[in-house]
Symmetry: C2
Subunit: 211 residues, 2 copies
């Protein structure tokens, strides 16, 4: 499997492939053609074959893809089988919603610990996790080496929290704060979740009706 | 301005353009070149010029783009100046987080009403909005004609809620339920917010380090 020099747009399509193939797997589908994947995903069949070919060969011309094998290969490419762990910082409404409802395991992560700074939350339980004080985060990370942190703190605590997490050896930030983080030289990976982008696309789509 | 036959990937890039240009506008920048936009966005300058050209001409060769005009044009393309209204259904943790923190106005919408079905919430106030019973949604929509609905109901209420909203004349669904909605014949636009995609991309990025 090749991982070098894969273009960002290909990488950004992989989760969509994974969700589609995982759905097929869960509905006991054994084999799937690139044209069926094309229909379900809205990408052209040749686009799909080309994307997959970036990672080496795992389809057989004319026979389609073995769903179980394809699913496993995409998991491998995405790194979902590495047993990564996550912590969450900021147990407000959004943090609570993720702790309660988000399927971390399906995305390849185990949620190990949650942190907040508010005295009224620290020490309480949230969905089975004790809420730890953010002051203990560095010591926790030194002992447990979590891989990524979910940042659901208020916007004005974003930069400070990101710096604490970077200094604690966290390798990836899943950033819900709607703030750009300045961590250029710290070798930490950041993915921003920007709700507004999809709402603006929806805005475009309903405007279209009026023309 | 042309709106027909614009490819989906171009449309999906528009919110990123908008956020970038809006940031420039807010920091009092007057004029910006496609090469500066390129640096900030990570797209090539020729990609940017090509994307913008889909909507007609609004740059001057060699002079870059007038930021204020460009911002307004992207707002117009996205339909953000149409005075669209939104309602929100499902005032759980995620709904509450959006009501409290999400800047609907910046994305071109006004949040007008919120709904839930839980007796302990109905009639209460949440961030200044009275929580209405979902049974009153259809009557509300018939009178107020909201344009889009934010769906933050539990997953197992997703399909039923989507059908109610479609039957109430809502034109766009901003779907946070993590369920695919089956509304093919109802002419309603749907944008799904799928948290997991960006977490999987983050998974890929931190895996990369290990190879």
């Amino acid at each position: 499997m090749k991982r070098d020099n894969i273009a960002a747009p290909v990488i950004n399509r992989l989760p969509k492939y994974y969700r589609c193939v995982d759905d097929l797997y869960r509905s006991n589908c054994i084999r799937v053609s690139s044209s069926t994947l094309s229909e379900r995903l809205g990408f052209t069949a040749s686009q799909i074959r080309q994307d997959f070919s970036c990672f080496g060969e795992f389809g057989q011309q004319g026979y389609g893809y073995n769903v179980k094998k394809l699913r496993y290969e995409i998991q491998e490419i995405l790194g979902m089988n590495n047993g990564f762990s996550a912590i969450l910082v900021g147990c407000g409404n959004l943090g609570h919603a993720l702790i309660r409802n988000f399927d971390f395991k399906r995305a390849g992560f185990e949620l190990k610990a949650i942190f907040d700074s508010r005295p009224e939350l620290v020490g309480a339980e949230m969905e089975g996790h004790p809420v730890r004080h953010v002051d203990t985060l560095k010591d926790y990370a030194a002992a447990a080496h979590p891989d990524v942190a979910v940042m659901t703190v208020p916007s004005d605590a974003a930069q400070e929290t990101a710096e604490l997490l970077a200094a604690s050896g966290i390798r990836g930030l899943w950033n819900f704060t709607n703030r750009d983080l300045r961590l250029d030289d710290k070798g930490i990976q950041v993915e921003n979740v920007l709700f507004s982008d999809s709402l603006m696309v929806l805005c475009y789509k309903i405007s279209d009706d009026e023309y």
